[in-house]
Symmetry: D2
Subunit: 302 residues, 4 copies
């Protein structure tokens, strides 16, 4: 536990989410150097503020952006990377994944009354679906292969869910959109098959948004068809820190104002000593699993 | 009642809204040639479809875009200017003003979690407010001078209302936004004073959207301050027919899908023989008045 | 030779370009129904104007947009699809391919001072290069495998050319851009290999523009790397007629004002009776070949 | 002369431009506190680099962004605010005003083949004109009241110049644009009259760009007409430091690559001891005056 620099705050960590991107690291499979320190979905309470910090005081609950070492009791973080959590329970103040989803949805920019398809109903797919719904399109059609995931998507507000193992998503989208296809389609799986589906369900000149992270070799795309259909291809990944911070700010504003809640997505909570079990569960993805967080310090009274 | 051209449908008019822009014409004050034929906020039921029309059949309820003569029993209109009304009551299918508001809001493009100010709580201000809320900003602060209008804005979902005659909107916005000012501010009055307020409540590099139609001479702007604040000025008017049709399509999708309803805005209904009273009321704007429509034919069973 | 409809003009065709997209049709290989009528890069002189046409008179030289049958002495075309050719030689008034290139470059939107890579130095690649240069980036690096094509690219104004068979384009771009990579990269080949190169030469968060038409099966993309680099993917194809017309208008304005000339790209001209030889040459692509046109009627005095 | 901080370089100043925005300060008329230290258009040679600075070494010529104190022999500046000047003469490396003009032109974004009007042919008007021309519109029509300024605008490449004291700019623009009006119009005067002219020369749905800084009270706008014409209003001022730096980077890339030169705009040069004369001349604006710079240290061999 080090002292905060003049522009930092020292946070007493309340909670840290388990991110899919760290599962490889935890399993020792990733092609990276060790030791590494996972944990970047952090929230906590300000313990001490650096000498130049304004607007943050000891006791303030915040969500924060860190690049690792989040599974710890304390973490020092730049004050400008902290966002007020208000009365949001800190284990639900998952600002970092929320920032990714906010930025993806803002870039794809579904308009009022658009028809939208979301392929993938895991945690990120659910976040994308929820944020798309906050923009009030007409139809929100969610596809997956897992019945429990589709049931959850329906409860979250999908106007239609599709199990692609047993139903024709192309027929369903065509029917819902009067034959035209979706205005915007999101792929949130990282899988080859979902990419192909994008092209089949999107209208001419519509947008196909790639949100999934496509690890594991080349992806095949029917580019002649995508050319012909004049799709706008949206690669929903960001590297500018300002963009990431903008997404966190927007996401935390949605949470603190009650426009959005994540209580229906955090399904598994673990104590810090059970962090290994948290990762194991995130790998196993048992039925009903969406998102695991590790509770570290006491949450302030909400 | 003429036959529809091959690409037209003949509509049996159900309802036509009374538009503020036509009040001058009705009062005989406008500097225009007579006779003129007001009425452009039309809905009705397809009576006959032209020979080349696809997708519309007798009996279909639609909202339509016409440039006048809407206060009539029948009107012929291009099929591509008709939008399905589904089970929306036809006196609430006000597609034309909705299109204006949809296009204004989409151009100003408030992002998820933004703070928004709407100055003006008449019919168009209410529409803008409702559509802004469908995009889920954080705060929606509505200003006006009429207590009944502000009460209605609150019921429509404003997070805060301001009577600018008795409260400081600058102080209120500053407080709500942590001192920064609004991300997007809409002026929906057409009045000089509201323009000046825009600059006082908007953050640096934020957007000031001019939706009101500024008739009656020059407007004064503190342009040095607007330069200095690097505002993005949004002139929310449109002339391209494709843009207008896009706004109607989106608006009717919102209505038919239940994402939006206008039953709280249509406050006065008149029979065709009372059209003069409808205009007189729209001019007088009695307390509680928002929008008048003239009911012409029978609405189909909703 | 039919009479023009009220909104059409009858053109006496002066010239029609031979388009790569029609070579399959000519060779009988394409999977399409016959008979087909190729020829869509048409210019000519107005012979007669329909009764409702304004602004076009007999004798006016124009470039026109038709969807086929351009290899003919006369063609009837909607007046709004005709653009004045001024004193531009009509065999150089290739408005349709120019429209494709204008729209591709405007969509990718290289900014003043950007570094740009163009992969492919055939006719469309040359057009893209010329239009990119009209936007005054800093570097314009052109890659191909044919020495004659690269020599032409250099003469057209490339700041650097790269023969990817013998030089490392990655090294060259890195050196030219201070290690960052190009701001915008265009693929104008339709080939798999060029797609892969895009990712290797573009900076983080830069734009990769796919202009080539990718026929012949799936394309493989290293999507994980493209995700990680947060590339903006630009699919430079268009289907809206308004967009195509906008590109033709802009392209013809560039030609008629002398900002752009195409005399260095039309390398082969044929008489109408030699149209088969024109197609054969376009298929064979002999050294020095860029673009073939078929001269049909007499060009007016330029 | 202080030592550079770890992320700074110490510059030996070569040249500093005299900016119009500082003339009030020099004349003691501005409503600001004294002492103030003018001079923000600085170029020089790196004397020493801070310990963490990479990519800049003693002897490197650069243009730099400072907020004042530029009329001095040495200035310390953050390394990331320095841009290589290559072989550009340092008294012509006016990166700061160039950044303003680059950002204004990129925001207004004239497209290939557009028709553009620039009102105001002083130094900033000339810069805007030159950058607009680098984007290759069709017509560039420049208006002013000073014959010498118009003659210079013509030499810089205007396709037409207009003395608004003796010619009708409305007629001229209408004629040049086939009756439509300009696609984009820039006001670069800061004067009331030029604002009114914008609306008279711009086509429906076109862009009106306000670049001039409108000090000295309210400005009057015919907003009803601007609403009706559906103009896109572009307020070409910026406050984000990243945007300013982006403009400097682009501007210096244009200069160092030879795409742009400013030798025709710097008309008056002064020694440091004559700085008062430099300001007096900038106030007096004698015929032929465009821009004054103060030469401080020796320029490196270009």
């Amino acid at each position: 536990m080090r002292e905060p620099a003049p522009d930092e705050v020292l946070l007493r960590v309340a909670s840290c989410g388990v991110c899919t991107s760290e599962l490889d690291m935890w399993q020792g499979m990733a092609d990276i150097e060790f030791p590494r320190f996972p944990g970047h979905e952090v929230s906590g309470v300000v313990e001490r503020a650096g000498s130049q910090v304004e607007g943050l005081e000891p006791g303030d609950p915040v969500a924060a952006w860190v690049t690792g070492r989040g599974f710890a009791e304390y973490v020092a973080v730049r004050a400008e990377y902290c966002f007020p959590a208000g009365s949001v329970p800190l284990d639900l103040a998952l600002a970092e994944p929320l920032a990714c989803a906010v930025n993806a949805v803002e870039l794809a920019a579904p308009a009022l009354g658009d028809d939208v398809v979301v392929i993938g109903a895991g945690f990120m797919g659910n976040l994308v679906q929820k944020l798309v719904q906050l923009k009030n399109p007409r139809h929100v059609i969610v596809a997956d292969t897992r019945p429990d995931a589709l049931e959850r998507a329906a409860q979250l507000g999908a106007t239609r869910t599709v199990n692609v193992l047993s139903e024709s998503i192309v027929d369903l989208v065509r029917e819902a959109t009067g034959g035209a296809g979706a205005d915007v389609s999101f792929e949130v799986t990282g899988a080859q098959a979902a990419l192909l589906t994008l092209g089949d369900v999107t209208r001419m000149s519509g947008k196909v948004a790639i949100v999934g992270y496509h690890q594991g070799g080349m992806r095949e795309l029917p580019l002649a068809a995508w050319n012909w259909m004049a799709f706008q291809i949206v690669n929903a990944h960001f590297r500018e820190i300002d963009t990431i911070m903008g997404g966190m700010r927007a996401g935390m504003r949605l949470l603190t104002s009650g426009r959005l809640a994540l209580d229906d997505l955090v399904t598994h909570r673990y104590a810090l000593e059970d962090v290994n079990e948290a990762f194991a569960t995130a790998v196993a993805k048992p039925e009903g699993f969406v998102k695991a967080t590790v509770t570290i310090g006491p949450s302030p009274p909400g």
